[in-house]
């Protein structure tokens, strides 16, 4: 296990983010890690509504960062991670825009893959964000999916 405290960066912002500089930050002063895994989530043209033209992301500001920190800390307890960087955007987005970014680094690839996947699975079910799609036939709130709830099962955590 990694004995040093992992370096954690969590941001909730309206602005777009730059994956290249996030990736550079993962590599800076990092000679111990063999594996970086990152996930990037984008606005799709066809989601639950057809012909999506935009997406509005509402959140619960006082709770959002606290919730994300809790999820990342769970991941750090479970896997030996050196660095975690997470960005989630809020506000008005458009098709192909970046929504969310999670990067983790570890000595070994299994830990990096699992931790990144775990963080996304829990973010989807526990972090207070809500998406409203703008479509060619009007606005609609995105429905939570049963498969996202089931995605948590693989992590064997007793989580309502």
């Amino acid at each position: 296990m990694n004995t040093a405290q992992p370096s954690i960066s969590i941001k909730v912002q309206t602005d777009d983010f730059d994956v290249a500089s996030e990736y550079a930050a993962m590599r800076t002063n990092n000679t111990q890690d063999g594996a970086i895994v990152f996930f990037s989530g984008l606005v799709r043209e066809m989601n639950q509504g057809q012909g999506v033209t935009g997406l509005f992301l509402e959140h619960y500001p006082a709770m959002t960062e606290k919730s994300l920190h809790g999820i990342v800390e769970q991941a750090c307890e479970r896997w030996p991670l050196s660095k975690v960087r997470l960005i989630h955007r809020v506000g008005q987005l458009h098709v192909s825009d970046q929504i969310v970014f999670v990067a983790v680094s570890s000595a070994h690839r299994e830990a990096a893959f699992d931790a990144c996947h775990f963080i996304m699975d829990f973010l989807k079910k526990r972090a207070p964000f809500w998406k409203k799609e703008t479509t060619t036939i009007g606005d609609r709130w995105v429905e939570a999916l049963e498969k996202d709830k089931m995605a948590l099962d693989k992590w064997n955590i007793n989580d309502k």
Binding site: H59, H88, P128, F129
Partner: protein, 82 residues
Amino acid sequence: MINILFFAQLKELFGQASVELNIETPCTVAQIKQSLIHNHSAWAEQLNKPTIMCAVNQDMVADDHIVNANDEVAFFPPVTGG
């Protein structure tokens, strides 16, 4: 007095982002829901949904969670971020 926050569909359907509730504390989240429905019968359908989520002081909690004076209580639909 407890300050209750609503988000997403609840905020839209209730036409407000928050409400002050006059209720004796400590009480449970379930009792807060009942009291809100008592005051606003139109909110029953939403607040009675089994999927509705509640956070107290920004942590997710279940219906039997104890709420104290000055706690921040929030109700919202299942989250859909990421």
